[in-house]
Amino acid sequence: MTIEAQLHLKRDNFTLDAMFCVPSHGITALFGPSGCGKTTLLRAIAGLEKETRGRFVIGDTVWQDETRCLPTHQRELGYVFQEASLFEHLSVRQNLEYGLKRLPVETPRFDFDQAVTLLDLAALLPRQPARLSGGERQRVAIARALLSSPQLLLMDEPLAALDQQRKREILPFFARLHSELDIPMLYVSHAADEVARLADHLVLLNDGRVQASGPIAEMLTRADLPLAHDHDAAAIIEATVSGHDTQFGLTQLTFPGGQLSVPQPGSGSGLPIGQAVRLRVLARDVSLTLKQQTGTSILNIVPVTITALNAENAENVIQPTAQLLVQLDVNGVPLLARITRKSAMALALESGKAVFAQIKAIALLD
């Protein structure tokens, strides 16, 4: 099952011309710089931009095509706006029930108590929205969207209006939505760390057009896309917890390319064995060696194959820069390394060559 979009919208100073097709499960991030049309695209998908032309199909449900266009209230969606738009005249409970009450009788319903538990809202139910914090308001908005039993959840930078602490407070709830529910989500964001953490798929937008789309691990490491050339360029690794080294406080992880160790997150007994985790490895934290080093303080060393070397050409600069972006393959998992051109020359690196990647730091994302 897929989500298929082909939407056009013309404004005085902006044209949206977006075409993409992503699987209808998991979280798909609509990612791009400010002003690239992410929010407009999301609104067009929801039917909130009346002049939108084109086609939008989710699974076998057509929301819009050449002959018809369902109004927003007939699309089975849940929409979370950037700033939580709770109804100020209704209590939290009444806000949650607003969408629930308007569902057709035959529609299978999302369980009220499950939504309340999932987003930890029990204590807030009798309150008025005006008495909630920003993070609490956003949680209510998410639960309210869930309770309208959507076929597709649309999230417009739901964390953008929150400070760092509130963001940290909400992110675990998204991870829960992701792991416990089977509702596909389109998630608008311009924050690379949020996307790396949450998304399964990525639709990259630029100036109203889709530049590329695909699975997150691939999209982050493609040399023809700007993401891999960012200062914070990174690869994503999906791994599972395979053991704990209590003596040194390390957590052992298994991924298709081998074993990795990371410091145990937080306090307590650590993550349960078998738990799936997502890791982020910054390109600048990866160095390459021809032989497996001993006598190094670096814990994580994996054998890799070089797939390509790319010049990090800044725009309008003819002279090659000092650094190279090296694309690596670890048993099917893409990885990035940023090294100097000088080192590449000295080690005679070329595509197809087998080398060792030394990973200085790994961030555990969830």
Partner: protein, 226 residues
């Protein structure tokens, strides 16, 4: 203390103001909604027309209405086909005049309330499966409550205080078109200062209480919702 004609005038006034307010709330809602949300280029012309009674001498408004509603006016043939001779000097004519006269006092508070609410709550309601009419009644109406209270009280009070328009198109028929403000004028003309005092003082008090109510209600509403 009040003579029989005074009581009749009081009743006519309340009936006129009440009916005018109800009509204005019904007509003013779609008009104010359109003014608050339309992107129509010449909307400003309609806005100026709505505001006109604020500055126009009531006699001017009354004069044109008298011509419009009279048997030889542009609406004459239409009225005759409905079996109406003339609406001038009738209670119905007075209601029509009052609707024009008090229009901005109802439309402007509603327009401001709708503009302040914006489109967002409607969009949210739409994403939660509410149909357009449902969106209006379940979200906009309750959120616009302070605007409606202001509009109703100002529309009512302003109609009670009407004089020039009534004089031009209503005349001074007890039980039909004689309202309080005209009755006061009559009393003063006849040097019946005592009765003029009773009616004037009563109107003063009524107007003050009405405004006090508006400000108290809107203040309380703001306090509970923020």
């Amino acid at each position: 203390m009040l003579s029989e004609t005074d009581i009749l005038a009081l009743w006519t006034t309340l009936k006129l103001a009440g009916l005018t307010t109800i009509i204005l709330l019904l007509l003013g809602t779609p008009l104010a909604w359109w003014l608050a949300h339309s992107r129509f280029r010449y909307k400003v012309i309609v806005e100026a027309l709505v505001a006109l009674p604020l500055i126009l001498p009531p006699t001017v408004l009354g004069f044109y209405l008298l011509i419009m509603l009279g048997p030889n006016g542009p609406l004459g043939p239409l009225m005759q086909s409905l079996g109406i001779q003339s609406l001038a000097f009738t209670f119905t004519g007075l209601v029509i005049g009052s609707v024009f006269y008090s229009l901005p006092f109802v439309v402007q508070p509603l327009q401001n309330a709708f503009a302040a609410i914006g489109r967002r709550p409607l969009e949210v309601a739409a994403t939660l499966r509410a149909r357009p009419m449902d969106q209006f009644f379940s979200v906009v109406l309750p959120l616009a409550r302070p605007g409606y209270i202001t509009a109703a009280v100002l529309g009512f009070a302003h109609t009670v205080g009407e004089f020039g328009v009534v004089l031009m198109i209503g005349g001074n028929i007890p039980g039909e078109t004689q309202v309080l403000s005209i009755a006061i004028y009559d009393h003063v003309e006849a040097l019946e200062y005592g009765q003029a005092h009773v009616l004037s003082g009563g109107l003063l008090l009524l107007s003050f209480i009405l405004l006090l109510t508006v400000y108290t209600l809107n203040r309380r509403y703001r306090l509970t919702s923020t």
